[in-house]
Symmetry: C2
Subunit: 144 residues, 2 copies
DNA sequence: TTTAATTAGGACATTTTTGTCCGATTAAAT
DNA sequence: ATTTAATCGGACAAAAATGTCCTAATTAAA
């Protein structure tokens, strides 16, 4: 569904948000350990997310990553996917046809549109805050 | 959603089925041209589909690929996806967690399950015959 | 002011996916 | 029988995705 990079990105952001809500800034190492991802690769993804304003990064000793509560409530799953994977999840034909559309549909166009619209709605309505809810309480998990 | 290989595979099978219903066996070249795919790469995918009994191949001059009407009605989109891409579309967590399940769900587990189940149902109910319906009549397209 | 901890970012390495080439095999047509 | 048109399958090549390493820049703490 998503690239590995995007999966790590989502997990990382949820972890950062979860810790930020507890008032804690987290380091790259801590993040990678918490979400079970390759450190240096995760760094690249976080750079990308930071440049796009989805997370805040602080350099230097005792630096790390954090998010304001406002952003935690504003930022949607779709924003992360968009930054890391672009729009290929939403756009693009299920059969890989470049010019598949309602006027020239592929054989499964209409059926796929339904599923994709549903996925799109899910990504656009789910905030980072929503995703952190289960994490602290042990209802949902970010590794293993 | 699917790999390129799988996309080519689906388009190829729909084209083969469409032509088979008109009593015509088709060559690799004709297929690749009709669905706008790389010839040699398409050959690999068709070998795989042929080995798995999803299409019939005939060697030698005037050989090519074909499907019986029975198989055209039996074979589902899910069968092609399964052979080419395996089960990664159905199984596997949206966030890439190895052990995400109903007991240890990731933060978006339940929402994703819904979308994926819908996709699964679509793939399992759509037969190749269903997909060929629009192709001859110009309602749906396999290239461009 | 030096040291230690940290992110930023470029270059490189590995793996996977996608794609090509060619010789072997098969079978129809000449 | 020979030629020709086809698939089969192995080896190779290129591109994209994933992952690593190292140096520079930054900042808090000693």
């Amino acid at each position: 569904m998503f690239s590995k990079a995007c999966e790590y990105g989502i997990r990382a952001v949820v972890y950062i948000a979860h810790k930020s809500l507890e008032g804690q800034r987290v380091s790259l190492k801590e993040i990678a350990d918490a979400i079970d991802s390759p450190v240096a690769f995760t760094a690249k993804i976080l750079q990308q997310l930071s440049r796009n304003g989805l997370v805040d990064s602080v350099k230097g000793a005792s630096g790390g990553f954090e998010m304001s509560e406002g952003r935690i409530r504003e930022v949607r799953l779709a924003d992360i996917v968009s930054v890391v994977d672009g729009n290929r999840v939403y756009e693009g034909c299920g059969l890989g046809l470049k010019k598949c559309n309602e006027h020239k549909p592929c054989p499964v166009h209409w059926e796929f549109v339904e599923v994709r619209d549903r996925l799109k709605a899910l990504l656009e309505t789910t905030s980072i805050h929503d995703m952190t809810l289960g994490v602290g309480s042990g209802i949902s998990y970010l590794k293993r």
